[in-house]
Amino acid sequence: MSAARDGILGGIHRSLGRGALDATRVAGLEARLDGHSRGELPARAQGLDRAGLLDLLERQAKAVACSVARVRSAADVPAELARYLKSQNLPSRVEMSPDPTLDAVPWASMPMLEIARGKPSGEEGVGVTSACAAVAETATLMIASGARSPATMSFLPDTHVVVLPASRVVGPLEDAWDRLRATSPAPMAAAAMPRTVNLVTGPSRTGDIEQKIEMGAHGPRRLHLIVVEDDALA
């Protein structure tokens, strides 16, 4: 419907009292897009070392009802997962994204865990993913879809467990975008954004009935974060 397109763009020109932008102005806008310049950032998310970032992340996570466990290395992850499932009275059967980060965890060390790798089945069980970054500022997990990361794994299961290398914890959200841009196969400007980038801050909830917060509206009612502190898992 190009008549509509022309009509709308022409209408904008008329309202702003100008034609299409000239080359100088366009160059300025292009530079603004490429610059990714940051504005004012909250002081709370800046100048923190690794320990400070992890503390902030944990504090913010608790405030949004996301539980956090810190383990020393990837070898400790299976036991922590088993402990968490037991503490919540959940079955030891889990669905898990085929994420390379999760490949590096020695799951076989905990044979009681029954693990299905791949897409989620749609049943309301336990789903395990990794995340490409965690924003300590607000305890926000950045999870990008891809060939080894089904986006639905963060939404269909009733319980969502995220295994996160501590090196991926950043201060402000802007640092997470930089991480994503750095790991992207092509420059982001060439439409290389993953199809879905989910920023997840706590488990699903609704306040639609008398503004009383109830967990588990459509997505997971529990969110558990396992932070792996050593840098062998990066």
């Binding site: 913010q60 089904p150 939404f155 954004m193 980038v197 801050t201 503004q211």
Partner: protein, 476 residues
């Protein structure tokens, strides 16, 4: 959606007399403002972030044409499609066309005010396509065949008991003896019913909180996760967005996100903020096969360059209505169209014409609270005043209000007479009210005194006190 905004007075009377609504509004008036204030107090940079958010949106509006074309190019490069719609009719036909081509029978929907604006559900139903609202609040009001009464809490006008009754009526296949007394049981019931619908749907429709020009992404902000299941499971994801949702970069989106949830629900971030770019990639394990963005104008481009341009900065957080004494008294349905509260009192006449929304700019006490809490610093009272001026120029007001305003204007242009008359009137009212300090009824002001007392003047006018203060050397 057919507007009944000109019937605001009658609508408001219905709202004031509705005990369910009044009980629900009573909770809202405390809940939202308290949570917002707490969130703001935890972030010392909040006011600086508001200035920054305002500046970002102003920059976009000055260059909107270029950013829209840039956004379109990025969407196309990512394998998606952008459709331009001047009017609600054009937008409806575009969506219907996509649904028909895919042979769609059911369509799931995340929350979208643009879908309300274009009357999408009725249009789809007319063509034998079933729209299923998946946001809990929207699902509830769809069962009731009602419009949303709040832009972020569509069912805020209802109490739990009313919702329980609706669920028992609509879900009659379930055990009639089941216990639905706790909100948790209502949430669980809706979750179970809607879970199936996500998998059945052929097309998923969402709104957009932002469109990112840098990457061609659309962004939704939700707490439930319904918008994600809505867009990930069907064959196609259709995004409904109005032109002004554009932000330049991911950093700009991040900057505005910092003020959005805090202003809306008092959260630091909403639970799910989702950036969607194009259809699923060849190797992806899930995601929609098609991605469409419908860009709706519906009168917005004509607001650029006018005294109403600032309303296009609105990010639909709902803070203005959460803090508005008028909204808090009459509820959202009284406003008679899609957008209630102070932002609706400006946007509604802007989009459907002041002649169709005449009372809305007057539905304000001008207390200024809306502007003081607006994360985008939109001067809402000033714009309502512009509409009142237009209403006067175009002779749209009621005869009584025009006569009264005319008389006042006549006196106000004669300062000596005005001072004399005002001093006499205040002295008289002050003397008459000296016993109680207020009036229980007052000629010509029964609309006020019928439901509350009118405070008696102290006997002297503001101008008088001001002059005295200057003479004493206290003021400038």
């Amino acid at each position: 959606m057919q507007a009944t905004s000109n019937a605001f007075r009658a609508n408001a009377r219905v709202g004031l007399a509705n005990p369910t609504l009044q009980s629900a509004l009573g909770k809202m008036k405390v809940g939202f403002p308290t949570k917002r204030a707490e969130a703001v107090s935890r972030l010392p940079e909040f006011d600086a972030l508001r200035d920054q958010a305002r500046d970002i949106k102003n920059h976009v509006l000055e260059n909107l044409d270029w950013y829209l074309e840039r956004f379109e190019r990025r969407v196309t490069e990512a394998g998606g499609h952008v459709h331009w719609a001047r009017t609600p009719e054009e937008a409806r036909e575009i969506v219907l066309g996509i649904c028909r081509r895919l042979g769609a029978r059911t369509v799931t929907k995340g929350k979208s005010m643009i879908a309300e604006e274009i009357g999408l559900n009725a249009h789809l139903e007319k063509h034998a396509i079933e729209p299923v609202e998946t946001d809990l609040g929207e699902y509830i009001i769809q069962l009731r065949n009602e419009a949303p009464s709040h832009i972020i809490a569509p069912a805020v006008h209802l109490t739990k008991d009313a919702i329980e009754a609706d669920f028992r009526r609509a879900h009659s296949h379930l055990d009639a003896r089941r216990d639905l007394t706790e909100p948790q049981s209502l949430v669980a019931e809706a979750r179970g019913i809607l879970r199936k619908r996500y998998f059945e749907a052929d097309v998923g429709i969402t709104g957009a909180n932002f469109l990112v020009a840098e990457t061609g992404s659309s962004v939704i902000v939700t707490n439930e996760g319904n918008g994600d299941l809505t867009q990930l499971l069907p064959k196609a994801h259709v995004v409904l967005a109005s032109l002004e949702k554009i932000v330049p970069t991911l950093e700009d989106a991040s900057a505005i996100l910092r003020v959005l949830a805090r202003s809306a629900t008092g959260q630091e971030m909403s639970v799910y903020t989702t950036f969607s770019t194009g259809p699923k990639r060849a190797a992806d394990l899930d995601g929609p096969g098609e991605y469409h963005v419908v860009l709706l104008d519906n009168g917005r481009s004509a607001l650029l360059g006018t005294e109403f341009q600032d309303i296009l900065r609105c990010i639909r957080c709902g803070a203005c209505m959460n803090h508005c004494p008028v909204y808090g008294a009459v509820g959202g349905h009284a406003y008679g169209w899609v957008y209630p509260g102070p932002m609706g009192a400006v946007l509604t006449p802007s989009l459907i014409g002041v002649e169709n929304a005449r009372p809305l700019p007057n539905a304000s006490t001008f207390c200024g609270k809306c502007e003081s809490v607006c994360p985008m610093r939109i001067p809402l009272p000033k714009m309502m005043r512009h509409y009142r001026a237009r209403e006067w120029e175009r002779k749209l007001g009621t005869r009584v209000s025009r006569l009264a305003l005319g008389a006042w204007a006549w006196a106000a242009r004669r300062p000596a007479l005005y001072r004399f008359a005002a001093a006499r009137a205040m002295a008289t009212l002050g003397w008459l009210g000296r016993r109680h300090g207020s009036f229980f009824n007052l000629p010509l002001a029964s609309g006020w005194t019928a439901t509350r007392e009118f405070p008696a003047p102290q006997g002297r006018t503001f101008q008088d006190l001001w002059r005295q203060r200057r003479r004493a050397g206290g003021g400038r």
